[in-house]
């Protein structure tokens, strides 16, 4: 049984899936009973996906063409 402070400690490794089975169970048992940590975990999970999405800038088309011109084989 862990408390919120411990659950906070387990947040990152939990999302990175590097916890031991026992630690996962410990975290999940707390999450089942604590809506605060559940909301914080979900927020963090969403944040990671959002960072990836927000920071993914498509490559400019001109750059793609410039790179193709750098080819030696053609």
């Amino acid at each position: 049984m862990c408390d919120c402070a411990e659950c906070e400690q387990l947040l990152q490794p939990y999302l990175d899936r590097v916890l031991t089975e026992a630690e996962v169970l410990e975290a999940e048992e707390h999450l089942d009973h604590c809506s605060y940590c559940r909301r914080a975990y979900r927020f963090e999970e969403e944040l990671r996906m959002y960072v990836r999405r927000a920071a993914s800038e498509p490559m400019p088309l001109e750059l793609k063409q410039k790179l193709a011109q750098l080819r030696i084989s053609l």
Binding site: Q9, L11, R38, R39, Y50, V51, E57, P58, K64, L70
Partner: protein, 193 residues
């Protein structure tokens, strides 16, 4: 001394040409992913474009150093990272421990304090703008940012990131952990002030 006949030489040259074409095509297919990482390793879009072009120029010249069957994406990023270091990017001061005292719930807590409870259904983009993410990321010192960009944006494994940056896997993990905390602190400052 080579004892090959002109015919086998011709065959070798043809094979090399085919391999080279295939290498170049495979490298170009990865350009979007390489750019996505490069974009956040340097400050501006122009710098990122230059860096990607230099990377591809070098990769195309030294394509024979690539071992087929290994990870081409990681190989390209390794070139890019080295070029970026060669460009003499400025050393940044490692953030002092005080700025890292914030825990993993820090951003969550600050956003709730400022704007009420974040429900399990709420989307993060209702509280944080895309621009604030990009801004906050660029404010993270580059040692930490490089790892975040490779793992969280570029989808590289810890082992690949370690290989690309030429640092131990343990350092990747610790920088990632601290880097994400720094990023969240920056985001809290951007969003809540």
């Amino acid at each position: 001394m080579s004892e090959t006949t002109p015919e086998t030489d011709a065959r070798r040259i043809a094979r090399e040409a085919r391999d080279r074409v295939r290498f170049e095509e495979e490298a170009l297919e990865l350009a979007d992913q390489v750019y996505r990482v490069a974009r956040h390793m340097v400050k501006t879009r122009e710098e990122a474009e230059d860096l990607v072009q230099e990377t591809y120029a070098r990769a195309f010249r030294s394509w024979q150093q690539f071992r087929p069957g290994t990870n081409l994406r990681a190989w390209l990023l390794r070139i890019l990272t080295n070029l970026n270091i060669d460009r003499g990017r400025k050393l940044q001061r490692t953030p002092d421990s005080q700025s890292l005292e914030a825990g993993d719930y820090y951003l969550f807590e600050r956003l709730e304090d400022a704007g009420g409870e974040i429900t399990e259904e709420e989307r993060v983009d209702e509280r944080l703008s895309q621009d604030s993410i990009v801004e906050a990321l660029s404010a993270v010192p580059h040692d930490f940012r490089d790892v975040i960009v490779l793992v969280d944006i570029g989808d590289f494994s810890y082992a690949e990131a370690a290989q690309i940056l030429d640092i131990p896997v343990g350092t990747v993990m610790s920088r990632l952990h601290r880097g994400r905390r720094i990023l969240k602190k920056q985001l809290a400052e951007e969003a809540v002030g």
